[in-house]
Protein backbone atom coordinates (compact mmCIF):
# COMPACT_ATOMS: atom_id res chain seq x y z
CA UNK A 1 0.00 0.00 0.00
CA UNK A 2 1.28 3.43 -0.81
CA UNK A 3 2.07 5.52 2.24
CA UNK A 4 -0.20 8.36 1.15
CA UNK A 5 -3.15 5.99 1.12
CA UNK A 6 -2.70 5.19 4.80
CA UNK A 7 -5.69 6.57 6.67
CA UNK A 8 -4.74 9.32 9.08
CA UNK A 9 -5.28 7.21 12.15
CA UNK A 10 -4.92 8.84 15.51
CA UNK A 11 -3.34 7.19 18.50
CA UNK A 12 -1.45 4.64 16.41
CA UNK A 13 1.98 6.21 15.88
CA UNK A 14 4.04 4.68 13.10
CA UNK A 15 6.80 2.53 14.47
CA UNK A 16 10.24 3.49 13.13
CA UNK A 17 11.41 0.78 10.75
CA UNK A 18 14.06 -1.47 12.24
CA UNK A 19 15.32 -3.18 9.09
CA UNK A 20 18.45 -2.01 7.29
CA UNK A 21 18.34 0.72 4.66
CA UNK A 22 17.49 -0.66 1.21
CA UNK A 23 20.65 -1.28 -0.81
CA UNK A 24 19.68 0.76 -3.94
CA UNK A 25 19.35 3.83 -1.73
CA UNK A 26 22.67 3.17 -0.05
CA UNK A 27 24.41 2.58 -3.38
CA UNK A 28 23.05 5.80 -4.94
CA UNK A 29 23.85 7.80 -1.80
CA UNK A 30 27.38 6.40 -1.76
CA UNK A 31 27.85 7.28 -5.42
CA UNK A 32 26.61 10.84 -4.76
CA UNK A 33 29.06 11.17 -1.89
CA UNK A 34 31.98 9.95 -4.03
CA UNK A 35 30.94 12.26 -6.87
CA UNK A 36 31.22 15.21 -4.50
CA UNK A 37 34.29 14.27 -2.52
CA UNK A 38 36.66 12.55 -4.96
CA UNK A 39 37.42 15.76 -6.94
CA UNK A 40 38.15 17.54 -3.67
CA UNK A 41 40.48 14.74 -2.62
CA UNK A 42 42.13 14.94 -6.04
CA UNK A 43 42.81 18.62 -5.45
CA UNK A 44 44.35 17.89 -2.08
CA UNK A 45 46.43 15.03 -3.50
CA UNK A 46 47.83 17.03 -6.41
CA UNK A 47 48.60 20.25 -4.52
CA UNK A 48 52.34 20.81 -4.03
CA UNK A 49 52.28 21.00 -0.24
CA UNK A 50 56.01 21.72 -0.03
CA UNK A 51 55.33 25.06 -1.72
CA UNK A 52 52.55 26.07 0.69
CA UNK A 53 54.56 28.69 2.58
CA UNK A 54 56.23 30.06 -0.51
CA UNK A 55 52.95 30.43 -2.45
CA UNK A 56 50.97 31.92 0.43
CA UNK A 57 53.82 34.32 1.21
CA UNK A 58 54.08 35.58 -2.37
CA UNK A 59 52.84 39.09 -3.13
CA UNK A 60 50.07 38.08 -5.58
CA UNK A 61 48.61 35.55 -3.14
CA UNK A 62 48.83 37.90 -0.16
CA UNK A 63 47.14 40.70 -2.12
CA UNK A 64 44.40 38.37 -3.34
CA UNK A 65 43.81 36.88 0.13
CA UNK A 66 43.59 40.30 1.78
CA UNK A 67 41.19 41.56 -0.88
CA UNK A 68 39.01 38.44 -0.68
CA UNK A 69 38.86 38.55 3.12
CA UNK A 70 37.91 42.24 3.15
CA UNK A 71 35.34 42.18 0.35
CA UNK A 72 33.67 38.92 1.40
CA UNK A 73 33.44 40.17 5.00
CA UNK A 74 31.86 43.44 3.96
CA UNK A 75 29.54 41.66 1.52
CA UNK A 76 28.37 39.35 4.33
CA UNK A 77 27.52 42.31 6.56
CA UNK A 78 25.46 43.87 3.75
CA UNK A 79 23.82 40.51 3.04
CA UNK A 80 22.72 40.12 6.69
CA UNK A 81 21.48 43.71 7.02
CA UNK A 82 19.38 43.51 3.85
CA UNK A 83 18.65 39.79 3.68
CA UNK A 84 17.04 39.24 7.08
CA UNK A 85 14.32 41.85 6.47
CA UNK A 86 13.67 40.40 3.02
CA UNK A 87 13.37 36.90 4.45
CA UNK A 88 10.99 38.27 7.09
CA UNK A 89 8.87 39.79 4.33
CA UNK A 90 8.78 36.51 2.38
CA UNK A 91 7.85 34.47 5.44
CA UNK A 92 4.96 36.70 6.50
CA UNK A 93 1.79 34.67 6.71
CA UNK A 94 -0.77 35.35 3.97
CA UNK A 95 1.80 37.26 1.91
CA UNK A 96 0.36 37.04 -1.60
CA UNK A 97 3.39 38.21 -3.56
CA UNK A 98 5.72 35.90 -1.65
CA UNK A 99 5.73 33.16 -4.28
CA UNK A 100 6.81 35.56 -7.00
CA UNK A 101 9.32 37.30 -4.78
CA UNK A 102 10.85 33.99 -3.76
CA UNK A 103 11.27 32.99 -7.41
CA UNK A 104 13.00 36.33 -8.08
CA UNK A 105 15.31 35.87 -5.10
CA UNK A 106 16.30 32.43 -6.40
CA UNK A 107 17.33 33.76 -9.81
CA UNK A 108 20.95 34.64 -8.85
CA UNK A 109 21.33 31.05 -7.60
CA UNK A 110 20.57 29.52 -10.97
CA UNK A 111 21.93 32.30 -13.20
CA UNK A 112 25.35 31.60 -14.74
CA UNK A 113 27.61 34.01 -12.80
CA UNK A 114 28.94 35.53 -16.02
CA UNK A 115 25.38 36.50 -16.92
CA UNK A 116 25.10 38.03 -13.46
CA UNK A 117 28.18 40.08 -14.28
CA UNK A 118 26.69 41.28 -17.55
CA UNK A 119 23.49 42.18 -15.72
CA UNK A 120 25.39 44.16 -13.08
CA UNK A 121 27.37 45.90 -15.81
CA UNK A 122 24.16 46.93 -17.57
CA UNK A 123 23.01 48.62 -14.36
CA UNK A 124 26.18 49.84 -12.67
CA UNK A 125 28.53 50.22 -15.65
CA UNK A 126 29.75 53.62 -16.75
CA UNK A 127 26.94 53.78 -19.30
CA UNK A 128 24.51 51.62 -17.32
CA UNK A 129 21.00 52.41 -16.11
CA UNK A 130 22.14 53.76 -12.74
CA UNK A 131 25.89 53.89 -13.31
CA UNK A 132 25.46 56.21 -16.30
CA UNK A 133 23.78 59.09 -14.41
CA UNK A 134 26.15 58.46 -11.48
CA UNK A 135 29.16 58.79 -13.78
CA UNK A 136 27.76 61.93 -15.42
CA UNK A 137 27.18 63.54 -12.00
CA UNK A 138 30.31 62.54 -10.15
CA UNK A 139 32.76 61.23 -12.73
CA UNK A 140 32.98 58.07 -10.63
CA UNK A 141 32.03 54.57 -11.74
CA UNK A 142 31.80 51.29 -9.90
CA UNK A 143 33.68 48.86 -12.21
CA UNK A 144 37.43 48.40 -11.56
CA UNK A 145 36.97 49.27 -7.85
CA UNK A 146 36.78 46.91 -4.83
CA UNK A 147 33.20 48.15 -4.34
CA UNK A 148 32.26 46.41 -7.56
CA UNK A 149 33.64 43.17 -6.10
CA UNK A 150 31.42 43.64 -3.03
CA UNK A 151 28.37 44.38 -5.20
CA UNK A 152 28.94 41.17 -7.17
CA UNK A 153 29.43 39.15 -3.98
CA UNK A 154 26.26 40.51 -2.39
CA UNK A 155 24.37 39.69 -5.59
CA UNK A 156 25.35 36.02 -5.50
CA UNK A 157 25.40 35.61 -1.70
CA UNK A 158 22.10 37.24 -0.75
CA UNK A 159 19.82 34.37 -1.92
CA UNK A 160 21.63 31.88 0.31
CA UNK A 161 20.91 33.94 3.41
CA UNK A 162 17.35 34.84 2.43
CA UNK A 163 16.33 31.23 1.76
CA UNK A 164 18.05 29.97 4.90
CA UNK A 165 16.49 32.61 7.17
CA UNK A 166 13.10 32.22 5.56
CA UNK A 167 13.23 28.50 6.30
CA UNK A 168 14.02 29.23 9.95
CA UNK A 169 11.20 31.78 10.13
CA UNK A 170 8.70 29.25 8.83
CA UNK A 171 9.85 26.69 11.38
CA UNK A 172 9.46 29.29 14.13
CA UNK A 173 6.61 29.04 16.59
CA UNK A 174 4.64 32.15 15.69
CA UNK A 175 2.87 32.15 19.04
CA UNK A 176 5.91 33.81 20.65
CA UNK A 177 5.34 36.83 18.41
CA UNK A 178 1.62 36.82 19.05
CA UNK A 179 2.20 36.78 22.81
CA UNK A 180 4.69 39.60 22.43
CA UNK A 181 2.11 41.63 20.50
CA UNK A 182 -0.65 41.00 23.04
CA UNK A 183 1.70 42.22 25.75
CA UNK A 184 1.85 45.55 23.98
CA UNK A 185 5.13 45.34 22.09
CA UNK A 186 5.38 47.26 18.82
CA UNK A 187 6.14 45.37 15.62
CA UNK A 188 9.76 46.55 15.73
CA UNK A 189 10.16 45.54 19.38
CA UNK A 190 8.73 42.09 18.66
CA UNK A 191 11.10 41.68 15.73
CA UNK A 192 14.28 42.73 17.55
CA UNK A 193 13.53 41.26 21.02
CA UNK A 194 11.62 38.07 20.16
CA UNK A 195 11.97 37.06 16.51
CA UNK A 196 15.62 37.90 15.95
CA UNK A 197 17.03 36.03 19.00
CA UNK A 198 15.00 32.94 18.07
CA UNK A 199 16.27 33.30 14.52
CA UNK A 200 19.96 33.65 15.37
CA UNK A 201 21.03 30.11 14.36
CA UNK A 202 19.32 30.46 10.99
CA UNK A 203 20.89 33.86 10.38
CA UNK A 204 24.31 32.52 11.30
CA UNK A 205 23.92 29.52 9.01
CA UNK A 206 22.75 31.71 6.13
CA UNK A 207 25.52 34.23 6.74
CA UNK A 208 28.18 31.52 6.61
CA UNK A 209 26.77 30.13 3.36
CA UNK A 210 26.60 33.61 1.84
CA UNK A 211 30.14 34.37 3.00
CA UNK A 212 31.45 31.12 1.52
CA UNK A 213 29.68 31.85 -1.76
CA UNK A 214 31.09 35.41 -1.76
CA UNK A 215 34.61 34.07 -1.19
CA UNK A 216 34.27 31.78 -4.20
CA UNK A 217 32.65 34.36 -6.50
CA UNK A 218 34.32 34.37 -9.89
CA UNK A 219 32.17 34.89 -12.97
CA UNK A 220 30.39 38.08 -12.00
CA UNK A 221 33.59 39.57 -10.58
CA UNK A 222 35.72 38.95 -13.67
CA UNK A 223 32.96 40.28 -15.96
CA UNK A 224 31.85 43.23 -13.88
CA UNK A 225 34.61 44.29 -11.48
CA UNK A 226 37.83 43.77 -13.41
CA UNK A 227 41.04 41.96 -12.59
CA UNK A 228 43.77 44.09 -10.97
CA UNK A 229 46.09 42.96 -8.16
CA UNK A 230 45.02 44.37 -4.80
CA UNK A 231 41.95 46.12 -6.24
CA UNK A 232 39.70 43.57 -7.90
CA UNK A 233 41.76 40.36 -8.26
CA UNK A 234 40.25 38.10 -5.59
CA UNK A 235 41.56 34.60 -4.80
CA UNK A 236 39.38 32.83 -7.42
CA UNK A 237 40.62 35.23 -10.12
CA UNK A 238 44.20 34.68 -8.98
CA UNK A 239 43.63 30.91 -9.21
CA UNK A 240 42.35 31.25 -12.77
CA UNK A 241 45.31 33.39 -13.80
CA UNK A 242 47.87 31.19 -12.03
CA UNK A 243 46.58 28.19 -13.99
CA UNK A 244 48.20 29.83 -17.02
CA UNK A 245 51.75 30.17 -15.73
CA UNK A 246 51.99 28.48 -12.31
CA UNK A 247 49.48 25.61 -11.90
CA UNK A 248 51.11 24.61 -8.61
CA UNK A 249 50.30 27.97 -7.04
CA UNK A 250 46.75 27.70 -8.42
CA UNK A 251 46.33 24.31 -6.68
CA UNK A 252 47.61 25.63 -3.34
CA UNK A 253 45.18 28.57 -3.46
CA UNK A 254 42.36 26.26 -4.55
CA UNK A 255 42.89 24.02 -1.54
CA UNK A 256 42.81 27.09 0.69
CA UNK A 257 39.63 28.33 -1.00
CA UNK A 258 38.05 24.95 -0.37
CA UNK A 259 39.46 24.38 3.09
CA UNK A 260 38.70 27.66 4.85
CA UNK A 261 34.91 27.61 4.33
CA UNK A 262 34.86 23.87 5.11
CA UNK A 263 36.60 24.41 8.46
CA UNK A 264 34.26 27.30 9.32
CA UNK A 265 31.20 25.22 8.46
CA UNK A 266 32.46 22.30 10.55
CA UNK A 267 33.26 24.52 13.53
CA UNK A 268 29.82 26.13 13.45
CA UNK A 269 28.09 22.78 13.11
CA UNK A 270 29.88 21.67 16.26
CA UNK A 271 28.63 24.76 18.06
CA UNK A 272 25.04 24.22 16.99
CA UNK A 273 24.84 20.59 18.00
CA UNK A 274 26.30 21.55 21.35
CA UNK A 275 23.97 24.49 21.99
CA UNK A 276 20.78 23.78 20.13
Amino acid sequence: MRPDRVPAGRGTPLRPPRERAPWPLLAAAGLALLWLTVPLLGLVARAPWARLGEVLGSTPARQALALSAGTAGLATVVVVLLGVPLAWLLARPRSRAAGWLRALVTVPLILPPVVGGVALLSVWGRSGLLGGPLHDLTGWALPFTPWAVVVAQVFVGLPFLVLSVEGSLRALDRRHEEVSATLGATGWQTFTRVTLPLLAPGVLAGAVLAWARALGEFGATITFAGNFPGTTRTVPLQVYLSLEDDPGAALVLSVLLMGVPLVVLLLLRGRWTARW
Partner: protein
Amino acid sequence: MRELTAVLAALLLLTVSAGCSPGPQPLVVHAAASLTDVLPRIGSRFSAEHGGVELVYDFGGSSSLAERIRQGSPGDVFVSASEPVMESLAGTGLVEQPVVVAGNVLQIATPPRNPAAVDTLDDFTRAELRLVACDPSVPCGAAAEQLFTTAGVEPRLDSLEGDVRAVLTKVAADEADAGLVYRTDVLAAAGRVEGVDVPGAEAASTRYPAAVVTTGERTEEARELVAYLLTPPAQQLLAGAGFRAP
Protein backbone atom coordinates in the same frame (compact mmCIF):
# COMPACT_ATOMS: atom_id res chain seq x y z
CA MET B 1 6.08 9.82 -8.41
CA ARG B 2 4.86 9.02 -11.91
CA GLU B 3 5.57 12.61 -12.98
CA LEU B 4 9.10 12.43 -11.60
CA THR B 5 9.79 9.24 -13.52
CA ALA B 6 8.45 10.82 -16.69
CA VAL B 7 10.65 13.90 -16.28
CA LEU B 8 13.77 11.82 -15.65
CA ALA B 9 13.01 9.62 -18.65
CA ALA B 10 12.50 12.67 -20.87
CA LEU B 11 15.81 14.17 -19.74
CA LEU B 12 17.59 10.90 -20.46
CA LEU B 13 16.02 10.65 -23.91
CA LEU B 14 17.08 14.22 -24.67
CA THR B 15 20.66 13.39 -23.68
CA VAL B 16 20.79 10.22 -25.74
CA SER B 17 19.35 11.85 -28.86
CA ALA B 18 21.81 14.75 -28.54
CA GLY B 19 24.75 12.41 -28.16
CA CYS B 20 23.99 10.26 -31.21
CA SER B 21 26.15 11.36 -34.11
CA PRO B 22 27.09 8.41 -36.27
CA GLY B 23 29.95 8.58 -38.76
CA PRO B 24 33.75 8.57 -38.75
CA GLN B 25 35.74 10.34 -36.05
CA PRO B 26 36.36 14.02 -36.79
CA LEU B 27 39.74 15.73 -36.86
CA VAL B 28 40.08 17.61 -33.55
CA VAL B 29 41.85 20.98 -33.63
CA HIS B 30 42.89 22.76 -30.43
CA ALA B 31 43.53 26.41 -31.27
CA ALA B 32 44.20 29.74 -29.59
CA ALA B 33 41.09 31.82 -28.97
CA SER B 34 42.20 34.56 -31.37
CA LEU B 35 41.75 32.08 -34.25
CA THR B 36 38.07 31.49 -33.41
CA ASP B 37 36.72 33.27 -36.47
CA VAL B 38 39.24 32.50 -39.16
CA LEU B 39 40.24 28.87 -38.54
CA PRO B 40 36.81 27.31 -39.28
CA ARG B 41 36.84 29.14 -42.64
CA ILE B 42 40.25 27.69 -43.47
CA GLY B 43 39.04 24.34 -42.17
CA SER B 44 36.02 24.17 -44.43
CA ARG B 45 38.22 24.85 -47.50
CA PHE B 46 40.64 22.17 -46.33
CA SER B 47 37.74 19.81 -45.78
CA ALA B 48 36.37 20.44 -49.26
CA GLU B 49 39.77 19.62 -50.78
CA HIS B 50 40.29 16.52 -48.62
CA GLY B 51 37.23 14.36 -49.14
CA GLY B 52 34.97 16.17 -46.72
CA VAL B 53 36.87 15.27 -43.57
CA GLU B 54 34.97 16.66 -40.58
CA LEU B 55 36.80 19.09 -38.29
CA VAL B 56 35.85 20.05 -34.77
CA TYR B 57 37.48 22.90 -32.86
CA ASP B 58 38.40 23.57 -29.28
CA PHE B 59 39.28 27.24 -28.84
CA GLY B 60 40.80 28.60 -25.65
CA GLY B 61 43.84 30.07 -23.93
CA SER B 62 47.02 28.45 -25.26
CA SER B 63 48.21 27.31 -21.83
CA SER B 64 44.86 25.75 -20.93
CA LEU B 65 44.78 23.94 -24.26
CA ALA B 66 48.32 22.64 -23.73
CA GLU B 67 47.30 21.44 -20.26
CA ARG B 68 44.31 19.62 -21.78
CA ILE B 69 46.58 17.88 -24.31
CA ARG B 70 48.92 16.91 -21.45
CA GLN B 71 45.95 15.44 -19.57
CA GLY B 72 45.15 13.24 -22.57
CA SER B 73 42.35 15.22 -24.21
CA PRO B 74 41.77 13.77 -27.68
CA GLY B 75 43.26 16.06 -30.32
CA ASP B 76 45.07 15.94 -33.65
CA VAL B 77 46.34 19.48 -34.26
CA PHE B 78 47.40 22.24 -31.87
CA VAL B 79 47.75 25.88 -32.93
CA SER B 80 49.19 27.97 -30.10
CA ALA B 81 49.43 31.74 -29.65
CA SER B 82 52.56 31.22 -27.60
CA GLU B 83 55.87 29.75 -28.68
CA PRO B 84 57.03 28.89 -25.13
CA VAL B 85 53.81 26.92 -24.55
CA MET B 86 54.32 24.98 -27.79
CA GLU B 87 57.98 24.34 -26.98
CA SER B 88 57.08 22.92 -23.58
CA LEU B 89 54.75 20.43 -25.29
CA ALA B 90 57.33 19.59 -27.95
CA GLY B 91 59.83 18.96 -25.17
CA THR B 92 57.68 16.16 -23.79
CA GLY B 93 57.13 14.60 -27.23
CA LEU B 94 53.39 15.28 -27.24
CA VAL B 95 53.59 17.24 -30.49
CA GLU B 96 55.69 16.88 -33.64
CA GLN B 97 58.03 19.63 -34.89
CA PRO B 98 56.01 22.92 -34.79
CA VAL B 99 55.91 25.43 -37.66
CA VAL B 100 54.99 29.09 -37.30
CA VAL B 101 51.90 29.76 -39.46
CA ALA B 102 50.96 33.34 -38.57
CA GLY B 103 51.79 36.43 -36.56
CA ASN B 104 49.75 39.05 -34.76
CA VAL B 105 50.49 42.56 -33.49
CA LEU B 106 48.91 44.60 -30.73
CA GLN B 107 46.71 47.58 -31.41
CA ILE B 108 45.06 50.13 -29.14
CA ALA B 109 41.33 49.44 -29.05
CA THR B 110 38.95 52.25 -28.10
CA PRO B 111 35.17 52.61 -28.03
CA PRO B 112 33.73 53.91 -31.33
CA ARG B 113 34.94 57.43 -32.26
CA ASN B 114 37.62 57.21 -29.55
CA PRO B 115 35.94 59.66 -27.10
CA ALA B 116 38.95 59.88 -24.76
CA ALA B 117 41.33 60.55 -27.67
CA VAL B 118 43.76 57.75 -26.91
CA ASP B 119 46.22 57.94 -29.80
CA THR B 120 49.56 56.73 -28.49
CA LEU B 121 51.01 54.51 -25.79
CA ASP B 122 51.79 57.69 -23.81
CA ASP B 123 48.05 58.13 -23.24
CA PHE B 124 48.21 54.97 -21.10
CA THR B 125 49.73 57.11 -18.34
CA ARG B 126 46.74 59.46 -18.10
CA ALA B 127 45.29 59.05 -14.61
CA GLU B 128 41.76 60.12 -15.50
CA LEU B 129 41.33 57.30 -18.02
CA ARG B 130 40.25 53.71 -17.49
CA LEU B 131 42.78 51.49 -19.20
CA VAL B 132 43.01 47.72 -19.51
CA ALA B 133 45.45 45.18 -20.92
CA CYS B 134 46.21 41.48 -20.49
CA ASP B 135 48.14 40.21 -17.48
CA PRO B 136 51.86 39.68 -18.24
CA SER B 137 51.45 35.96 -17.46
CA VAL B 138 49.42 35.40 -20.65
CA PRO B 139 50.78 35.90 -24.21
CA CYS B 140 48.90 39.12 -25.05
CA GLY B 141 50.04 40.61 -21.72
CA ALA B 142 53.64 39.60 -22.26
CA ALA B 143 53.54 41.35 -25.64
CA ALA B 144 51.92 44.43 -24.06
CA GLU B 145 54.54 44.56 -21.32
CA GLN B 146 57.32 44.31 -23.91
CA LEU B 147 55.68 47.09 -25.93
CA PHE B 148 55.46 49.42 -22.92
CA THR B 149 59.02 48.65 -21.84
CA THR B 150 60.41 49.32 -25.31
CA ALA B 151 58.51 52.62 -25.50
CA GLY B 152 59.67 53.60 -22.01
CA VAL B 153 56.06 54.06 -20.85
CA GLU B 154 54.89 53.18 -17.35
CA PRO B 155 51.17 52.54 -17.86
CA ARG B 156 48.49 53.18 -15.23
CA LEU B 157 46.23 50.20 -15.86
CA ASP B 158 42.91 49.53 -14.13
CA SER B 159 42.65 45.87 -14.96
CA LEU B 160 44.99 43.09 -16.07
CA GLU B 161 42.72 40.55 -17.74
CA GLY B 162 43.35 36.85 -18.15
CA ASP B 163 42.70 36.81 -21.88
CA VAL B 164 42.42 39.22 -24.77
CA ARG B 165 38.66 38.77 -25.25
CA ALA B 166 38.07 40.10 -21.72
CA VAL B 167 39.99 43.27 -22.62
CA LEU B 168 37.95 43.64 -25.79
CA THR B 169 34.69 43.14 -23.88
CA LYS B 170 35.56 45.91 -21.40
CA VAL B 171 36.33 48.34 -24.23
CA ALA B 172 33.31 47.37 -26.32
CA ALA B 173 31.07 47.83 -23.25
CA ASP B 174 32.50 51.36 -22.91
CA GLU B 175 33.73 50.53 -19.41
CA ALA B 176 37.32 51.22 -20.47
CA ASP B 177 38.60 54.15 -22.52
CA ALA B 178 41.22 52.02 -24.19
CA GLY B 179 42.82 48.60 -24.11
CA LEU B 180 45.64 46.74 -25.79
CA VAL B 181 44.38 43.86 -27.94
CA TYR B 182 45.44 42.11 -31.12
CA ARG B 183 44.77 43.74 -34.45
CA THR B 184 42.72 40.66 -35.41
CA ASP B 185 40.44 41.23 -32.40
CA VAL B 186 39.73 44.79 -33.51
CA LEU B 187 38.84 43.54 -37.00
CA ALA B 188 36.64 40.76 -35.59
CA ALA B 189 34.79 43.26 -33.39
CA ALA B 190 34.16 45.53 -36.37
CA GLY B 191 32.05 48.54 -35.37
CA ARG B 192 32.08 47.85 -31.65
CA VAL B 193 35.65 49.11 -31.15
CA GLU B 194 38.12 51.20 -33.12
CA GLY B 195 41.78 50.34 -33.63
CA VAL B 196 44.77 52.66 -33.35
CA ASP B 197 48.12 51.42 -34.68
CA VAL B 198 51.05 51.47 -32.30
CA PRO B 199 54.44 52.34 -33.81
CA GLY B 200 56.91 49.56 -33.10
CA ALA B 201 54.22 46.98 -32.40
CA GLU B 202 55.84 44.60 -34.90
CA ALA B 203 58.84 44.26 -32.59
CA ALA B 204 56.59 42.81 -29.88
CA SER B 205 54.52 40.59 -32.13
CA THR B 206 53.00 37.24 -31.20
CA ARG B 207 53.80 34.20 -33.34
CA TYR B 208 51.46 31.23 -33.83
CA PRO B 209 53.15 27.82 -34.06
CA ALA B 210 51.09 24.85 -35.28
CA ALA B 211 51.93 21.20 -34.69
CA VAL B 212 50.55 17.67 -35.01
CA VAL B 213 49.58 16.09 -31.69
CA THR B 214 51.36 12.74 -31.48
CA THR B 215 48.65 11.08 -29.38
CA GLY B 216 46.01 11.83 -32.04
CA GLU B 217 44.39 9.11 -34.12
CA ARG B 218 44.53 10.76 -37.53
CA THR B 219 48.17 11.82 -37.75
CA GLU B 220 48.26 11.76 -41.59
CA GLU B 221 45.38 14.20 -42.06
CA ALA B 222 46.67 16.29 -39.16
CA ARG B 223 50.02 16.72 -41.01
CA GLU B 224 48.15 17.71 -44.16
CA LEU B 225 46.15 20.32 -42.24
CA VAL B 226 49.28 21.86 -40.64
CA ALA B 227 50.91 22.03 -44.08
CA TYR B 228 47.72 23.51 -45.54
CA LEU B 229 47.91 26.44 -43.09
CA LEU B 230 50.98 27.67 -45.01
CA THR B 231 49.42 27.45 -48.48
CA PRO B 232 48.34 30.64 -50.30
CA PRO B 233 44.55 30.12 -49.81
CA ALA B 234 44.96 29.70 -46.05
CA GLN B 235 47.42 32.57 -45.75
CA GLN B 236 45.05 34.78 -47.73
CA LEU B 237 42.23 34.09 -45.25
CA LEU B 238 44.58 34.73 -42.31
CA ALA B 239 45.71 38.03 -43.84
CA GLY B 240 42.07 39.00 -44.38
CA ALA B 241 41.44 38.49 -40.66
CA GLY B 242 44.37 40.77 -39.83
CA PHE B 243 47.11 38.20 -39.19
CA ARG B 244 50.64 38.75 -40.42
CA ALA B 245 52.52 36.29 -42.59
CA PRO B 246 54.83 34.03 -40.53
